[in-house]
Symmetry: C2
Subunit: 205 residues, 2 copies
Amino acid sequence: MSPKSPEPGRQRQNAEIRKPEIVKSFYSTILDHGFEGASIARVAARINIHPSLILHYFGNKENLTLELVDYVIEEYAKLLENVKLGGLSAEDRVDKLIEVVWSREYYEKIHIAGSFSIVAVSFHNQRIHEKLRGLYEGFRRFLAKEIKKAADAGVIENNDPMRTAARIITLVEGARHFRHFFVGDHEIEQYNRDMKEATWMLLKI
Amino acid sequence: MSPKSPEPGRQRQNAEIRKPEIVKSFYSTILDHGFEGASIARVAARINIHPSLILHYFGNKENLTLELVDYVIEEYAKLLENVKLGGLSAEDRVDKLIEVVWSREYYEKIHIAGSFSIVAVSFHNQRIHEKLRGLYEGFRRFLAKEIKKAADAGVIENNDPMRTAARIITLVEGARHFRHFFVGDHEIEQYNRDMKEATWMLLKI
DNA sequence: ATTAATTAATCAACCATTCAGTTAATTATT
DNA sequence: AATAATTAACTGAATGGTTGATTAATTAAT
């Protein structure tokens, strides 16, 4: 409504708002241009801020990358936290869990291209590698706990939940990252049904 | 033997020798510094040649990258070609196959860091993506053919080898790429045994 | 008035790439 | 067998563009 302002520009924000905004911009820049193509200049341009502002907040690119990893990990972890299993019977808990890890929402939450870039970087960045390892360890423990519950209730037979959890994660992550290489669009639904069935099999070993 | 030569330097080679040498140097540079860190200068320095020589042979970096992908794919494909299944009984063929895909040699042939970098790049490079898709399609067909043979011989029950092959690849690639995140060194052998057993289960669905 | 958010201008380092020129090996000619 | 012609391997210097980073100046909020 102010007819004078020459350029609409960007409102001045505080760190609490700007920092996540920058991290998200970094993430989507990676999706578009890959990790190598995600320069600070591009990340800044995407949200119409000055490149220096990013350095002001993060100091250097390494820190920005580390905060991105935290962001991705949090998004990932949220999925597990939001699974509401309370009040369900032992059998339904397992059912629901399998439903979740093979759901479209779970698959699409973190774009594979993004997660791939981050894993690729983790191979020559110890700190990022440790962060990811922590994420997977948490995932594994979470699964193992559920598997044990189901076994105790007699829904499945299982005397080594941690081993079973490793099998499940292997299958889930394998699918998340590679299915688009060998599964055509027309057979995605069939593939997903097969995967759920396979998960049940692996649970019962 | 010539005592005069001031610097031992590098002998002059022909393209047949030099080009693969450059591609391999590119590969190991990626392992050390990631794809972003693998500049032409670094690739050249690693084998003591002039950076321009790389451009002389490959024209530009895109071409070098494409030839690297071919190299990795060939190394991958060799593994399957070298599996000698002739003369074995139907049951032994399946046995041998499972033994191979879960062997240390198969796992270590192409370093995960390298394959990850390439897959990551494939997400914003159509040509590389197509190459990888071709590789996986070949792998899937190869597996499916073997599965069908085993089913025909009555070793396993199976009426959809292509679907079964997709399950196996999912598990194998999932393990190749992620096991080091959640499987500790002390349980690798146990994990591998579990994986073979799981593969048998998935074969029999 | 102090502090925090933001921009501007600038830096050296590195990047892929070009091109013109040099050196060695191969082939053809005599 | 000697030499010239041709091709292939290789180098050095210069290109323009982009990178992450620094410093100082400006603007708004408290």
